[in-house]
């Protein structure tokens, strides 16, 4: 494996401090609420769902260094299973979330054994292949269940005060979901487990020599990341009440990868910042610029050749420089 070009870990291993954690969560919540004041609320809701997906991908790519071109498969599976659950079994949104996340987890548990036999480019491509199969199943293979290109219209029930048709309430619920996922990943990535998967990113042979069973770690991370990807899928199905095959289309992977890259891979703030910046760009640019794909392509090239560390990479460097300057003055 060639590892030379990969970005080094941008922050050191640190013990989990409750104060810092509370501050982080406060900052994220405050910035989303602030954003909701300036841009339409349904956009912010869309951003929130997308950010959860980006966070889940960051665990696999940013922290463990395994680039997958098929992450959207689990997102779409979650969305489809949740809406089928709402349509045929019960209108309880929590049951739908549980079913969708469970389906994503089972799929990841099974496929994890298969895809993790490979590494590097074959890993990216075999995930793409499975994603393509999933897309085909949704679009035509299982047409009698998924309604093909027409998509599924799902009724959403109310759970007490939790009414998904009411945008502010839905936004509050989704924001709590985002914060919970952030918290979970924060705890995981700072734990010994997190250090191990970051070491696997740097050099998996050495981790193996240290006596770790790296397949188990890779498999666990893959399952966790994919399950967390199914979660925003179920949220999408519940909030929008509509699921079509585009949600599971392999092209969606590019958006997720790009969002992680903008923010800086291997950094949870980066994932959230990247998700928001990407969605802002695509919402504003796509409506104002007709040659949107070209702009996206050029931005990707600039990123690869000039801007590899992403927003958080540059931000942390800036902070470090300011601190050094202060230390020099004192």
């Amino acid at each position: 494996m060639e590892k030379e070009g990969q970005t080094p870990a941008t922050f050191p291993v640190a013990p989990l401090r409750k104060k810092v954690l509370a501050r982080d969560i406060g900052v994220i919540a405050a910035s989303f609420v602030l954003m909701a004041l300036f841009i339409p609320l349904h956009w912010v809701i869309d951003f929130t769902i997308f950010c959860i997906l980006v966070l889940s991908f960051d665990l696999l790519y940013g922290f463990m260094g395994r680039l997958s071109f098929g992450h959207v498969l689990y997102y779409g599976t979650g969305a489809y299973v949740a809406s089928l659950m709402l349509l045929h079994v019960s209108r309880n949104p929590f049951l739908a979330i549980a079913a969708g996340v469970g389906a994503g987890a089972i799929l990841a548990i099974v496929l994890g054994f298969i895809v993790l036999q490979t590494d590097g480019a074959p890993f990216a491509l075999i995930n793409l292949a499975f994603n393509q199969i999933g897309f085909w199943l949704a679009a035509s293979g299982l047409q009698q269940y998924t309604k093909g290109e027409d998509g599924l219209n799902t009724p959403v029930g109310k759970m007490g005060f939790l009414d998904f048709a009411n945008q502010p309430i839905a936004f509050g619920f989704l924001l709590i979901c985002l914060l919970l996922v952030f918290l979970l990943l924060r705890v995981f990535t700072l734990s010994p487990y997190g250090v191990t998967i970051r070491s696997i990113k740097e050099n998996d042979d050495r981790v193996k020599f240290l006596g770790y069973n790296i397949f188990t770690y890779k498999w666990l991370t893959f399952v966790l990341s994919s399950t967390l990807a199914a979660f925003p899928g179920t949220l999408f199905a519940i909030f929008y009440g509509f699921v079509a095959p585009t949600i599971i289309s392999p092209f969606g992977n590019v958006e997720v990868i790009f969002a992680v890259l903008i923010g800086g891979a291997g950094n949870l703030y980066g994932a959230i910042a990247g998700g928001v910046v990407y969605k802002l760009m695509s919402n504003y640019l796509a409506t104002n610029i007709t040659r949107w794909e070209m702009v996206l392509g050029i931005l990707l090239l600039i990123w690869v050749f000039k801007f590899r560390r992403g927003l958080t990479g540059y931000a942390s460097e800036l902070i470090l420089r300011v601190k050094r300057k202060q230390a020099a003055e004192v």
Partner: protein
């Protein structure tokens, strides 16, 4: 069934033309080159533009389209691919994907998003017993076989080909002989791009040209390259035809499932070793119990 066979061989031939370049880039530079799809699509659009201008002479327009694409391929190699050599895999995938996106959008800008049909240049059907098929498809198949033999001669006899084959085996070793490996890779890259355009132009009368045609063939061609072994030129030839037949036979029964079947085959090949190990373990357990 014979029609299916002819169709499968035609698709296999097109896949072969397209996959050679991909396979070489992967074998030599360890780069998954999505930009190959861009070169292919742009070439087909050049061809469509040249065809009416040069009096509908198919081979002339084809040659001009290939010639027009070669400089583009050279620029892509010089300024994108070469800068990515030795980088980790992800950057190469992302950068070449960006090139593919830019290419698709440029085509929509210049030629519009509507699919453009191309008519069969030969318009002759061959009769064989009680079924008939277009002569054109046979020509496509035969040209792929001719190309395979030609490429074999090129890689075994010519000095450029032999240097590239040696570099596929051991890049550092070739560099130690004082040869500028990159220059030869660049030549082979440009040749591969020209062959992709050749495949695209030959495919245009069977399918239609549209801005995203590069995306679709890329996915299938990656399967070809993986099944055939990355950088293995004979393997690519065989797997292109096998997967072409898989597509044709699946499409006969269930047309939408064709691509999916290809990926299923690819998954099986990737998992070959693990499946074999599992099989041996199972057999071992059964034998042990029998004893």
């Amino acid at each position: 069934m014979s029609e299916t066979l002819i169709y499968g061989l035609t698709i296999g031939a097109i896949l072969y033309f397209f996959s050679i370049g991909l396979s070489i880039t992967f074998g030599t530079m360890q780069i998954v080159n999505f930009a190959h799809g861009m070169v292919y699509t742009v070439g087909v659009y050049f061809f469509i533009t040249f065809l009416p201008v040069f009096g509908k002479i198919f081979p002339l327009a084809m040659a001009l389209a290939i010639a027009a694409v070669l400089p583009i391929a050279f620029l892509v190699e010089r300024f994108i691919i070469r800068r990515l050599y030795g980088e980790s895999l992800d950057y190469a995938i992302i950068a070449t994907y960006a090139v593919l996106l830019i290419g698709a959008d440029l085509i929509k800008w210049v030629w519009g998003a509507m699919p453009q049909p191309v008519s069969d240049p030969l318009r002759i059907s061959l009769r064989l017993g009680d079924f008939s098929f277009p002569l054109y498809r046979l020509v496509v198949f035969l040209s792929a076989v001719a190309l395979f033999l030609g490429l074999r001669a090129f890689f075994n006899r010519s000095i450029i080909g032999r240097i590239v084959v040696a570099a596929l085996e051991d890049r550092a070793g070739v560099r130690c002989l004082g040869l500028d490996v990159n220059r030869y890779f660049s030549i082979v890259f440009v040749i591969g791009s020209g062959l992709a355009v050749l495949g695209g132009v030959l495919y245009a009368p069977i399918a239609t040209a549209e801005p995203y045609m590069g995306f679709h063939i890329l996915l299938v061609a990656f399967a070809v390259v993986i099944v055939g072994g990355m950088g293995n030129l004979t393997g690519t030839f065989i797997s292109a035809f096998v997967l072409g037949l898989v597509i044709a036979i699946t499409a006969r029964f269930w047309s939408q499932a064709a691509d999916t079947m290809v990926f299923a085959v690819m998954a099986l090949v990737l998992l070959k070793n693990s499946l074999l190990a599992l099989w041996r373990r199972l057999v071992g357990a059964v034998v042990a119990r029998a004893d």
